[in-house]
């Protein structure tokens, strides 16, 4: 297992480096001069030159990239162009709420996706299967910001079951925290549970046709046991693939959901920073989100290897 993990990490290094280059180049291409923005209103040319030198902007582009990369790796993401605060601090404050939302979204997606996928896969062609399929198509086609708005109208404004905006931290009471998390997480799940459900349904149908399941059924094992021990175990591997796919959706989706529910996470920080042309914050958020996304993709791959020994073998060879 050790060499497999190491190999997967080494494989992703060039991709991470290229992704960081793209983010760095993006900031260079963005309109406006960061030194002028940091210098405040009516700066003298000497002030701007001094800031340029301090930021390393007077050096060559490759030198600037290495300088930036070295700082970023040590946790220094520069200063906000708008309020001069360290970007790592601004980003650090927002990571918690976003991770909380993404994990809750993933959890709900898995719960809804697994139960509906199982129900549909065990009785293909039935009314349940058709209903699941219809709702899955609808869920995939609905924009997250719209399902969020609809949930607010129904469960927030009309029924008053859940707060319509904002986040309550877990330190202020678990019940209230879960209540504030419920609608945003459900919004994420509406778009992502269908992916899990479809993968599970199809893999259950495949697994039920395989020889070992047919043998188990022909020797008279109760259906419940066949499903639990023979069908489900093999059908769960594609679900890990589906979870890998929805990771990217979750990361992008949180940005939209955070705006709808005024959730104080990285997504709302990013959108505000774009509005203020605060490109160093934009860059900082991008670095953190892409790093998080890549790390979780690697985790999914490792989980894949844990569940299916054949994948480890292939990677050894």
């Amino acid at each position: 297992m050790g060499p497999f993990v190491l190999r997967r990490l080494l494989d992703s290094l060039p991709v991470i480096l290229l992704a960081l280059m793209i983010i760095f180049a993006g900031l260079r291409l963005a309109p406006g001069d960061p030194a002028e923005m940091l210098a405040g209103p009516d700066p003298s040319s000497a002030t701007i030159a001094a800031i340029r030198e301090a930021m390393g902007l007077d050096r060559s582009i490759p030198a600037q990239f290495i300088l930036w990369l070295r700082a970023a790796l040590s946790g220094d993401l520069g200063l906000s162009l708008v309020n001069g605060l360290p970007v790592s601090e601004l980003v650090g404050d927002r990571i918690g709420p976003t991770v909380e939302l993404a994990i809750a979204g993933l959890f709900l997606s898995l719960v809804i996706g697994l139960t509906t996928g199982l129900a549909a896969g065990l009785r293909p062609g039935s009314l349940t299967d058709r209903l699941v399929s219809t709702f899955a198509s609808l869920g995939l086609a609905t924009p997250k910001f719209w399902s969020g708005i609809l949930l607010i109208i129904v469960f927030g404004l009309n029924m008053r079951w859940f707060p319509v905006a904002g986040r309550t931290g877990f330190s202020d009471g678990v019940f209230e925290a879960v209540r504030s998390l419920a609608l945003p997480a459900l919004t994420l799940a509406i778009g992502n549970a269908p992916i899990i459900a479809r993968f599970l349904r199809n893999s259950i149908i495949e697994a039920r046709k395989s020889d070992h399941v047919l043998t188990a059924m022909s020797k008279g094992l109760p259906m419940r046991l066949v499903v639990r021990d023979y069908v489900l175990r093999n059908s769960l591997i594609p679900v890990v693939t589906a979870a890998g796919i929805i990771l990217g959706n979750l990361v992008g989706g949180t940005a939209l959901v955070e705006i709808v529910f005024s959730w104080p996470g990285l997504g709302s920080l990013l959108i505000n920073a774009i509005g203020n042309r605060d490109y160093s914050v934009v860059q900082g958020v991008m670095v953190v989100v892409v790093a998080g996304f890549l790390l979780s993709s690697i985790l999914v791959d490792i989980l894949y290897g844990v569940l299916d020994p054949r994948i480890r073998q292939v990677n050894h060879g």
Partner: protein, 281 residues
């Protein structure tokens, strides 16, 4: 496609989409397309014409009600559909124009070209799609053109990978070896022999990406990064409607339904195309 006789057979084949549903989806897309093309000559209010009735409920004068400036929501949705289809179409065209040659060259030439192209695509795939679109729009500035370009770039990796995969499968066929043996150049092999055979998966990918592009354009506009005022877009209408959820719920329901139906219909069309053109996938 014939209906299967029992439940298990039914499930094992690609589920046949009910034909009438597919026809309905195609008709809906056709109506949207016609609305988009002829929006300016239809007997509608102007999309930025303000009226005295603000946040008015649906009535015979305003079929879908009015917004906070008294503008007709029907007119804005029709022009919003036009924006959505237009931006998504340019996005899909751009991603095909860049991704297809990349995939063709990577698959056919192999070696260093393939290695370099694939690393670039991997790096683009390291960004969650919506985040990449947001980042590109941030750099290019908001507006329809930059949104379309962002959609174009975001779609490149998928298109290039699918075309490369199809080329690799096609390249190993004997007729390509034969062409090469009689001295046909790489460019000619690509144009005359391989391109016609990878067209089907590319068309299917373009159709699938069209619905993703509609959703992403709406998301960018919702975040204020897409089409700018006074031009209406379904996404930006929803952003504005958000503030009037309790006063005028129809304001959010109409554009949201329009996006969902557009994406749903496009997904159905793409699935049907895939079943017919590309049975291997």
């Amino acid at each position: 496609m014939a209906e299967a006789t029992n439940a298990d057979d039914y499930a094992t084949e690609i589920r046949p989409k009910a034909d009438w549903l597919l026809r309905l989806a195609c008709m809906f897309l056709l109506v949207c397309f016609l609305l988009a093309v002829f929006a300016h000559i239809l007997p509608l209010y102007g999309y930025s014409t303000m009226g005295p009735a603000r946040l008015a409920a649906p009535s015979s004068a305003h079929l879908f009600g009015t917004d906070q400036f008294g503008r007709d929501i029907l007119a804005r949705v029709v022009f919003g559909i036009r924006t959505s289809l237009w931006v998504a179409a340019i996005g899909v065209a751009t991603s095909t124009a860049i991704g297809m040659p990349m995939g063709l060259m990577a698959g056919l030439l192999g070696g260093a070209t393939e290695a370099v192209f694939m690393r670039i695509l991997d790096a683009l795939l390291a960004f969650p799609a919506l985040l990449l679109a947001i980042g590109i729009s941030a750099v290019l500035g908001s507006g329809a053109t930059s949104a379309a370009l962002a959609l174009g770039i975001v779609g490149v990796p998928q298109m290039a990978r699918i075309v490369r995969g199809a080329v690799l499968a096609e390249k190993s066929n004997q007729y390509v070896d034969a062409a090469r043996a009689i001295g046909v150049s790489n460019g000619m092999i690509m144009l005359r022999h391989i391109l016609p055979n990878v067209a089907a998966p590319a068309i299917v990918q373009a159709a699938l990406y069209f619905s993703v592009a509609i959703l992403t354009e709406a998301s960018l506009s919702f975040l204020g990064l897409g089409v700018q005022v006074p031009l209406p877009s379904l996404g930006s209408m929803l952003y504005e409607a958000r503030q009037f959820m309790s006063l005028a719920p129809w304001y959010a329901i109409v554009p949201g339904t329009a996006i969902t139906l557009l994406v749903l219909a496009m997904n159905m069309l793409a699935d049907a195309l895939r079943d017919r053109l590309d049975p291997i996938q």
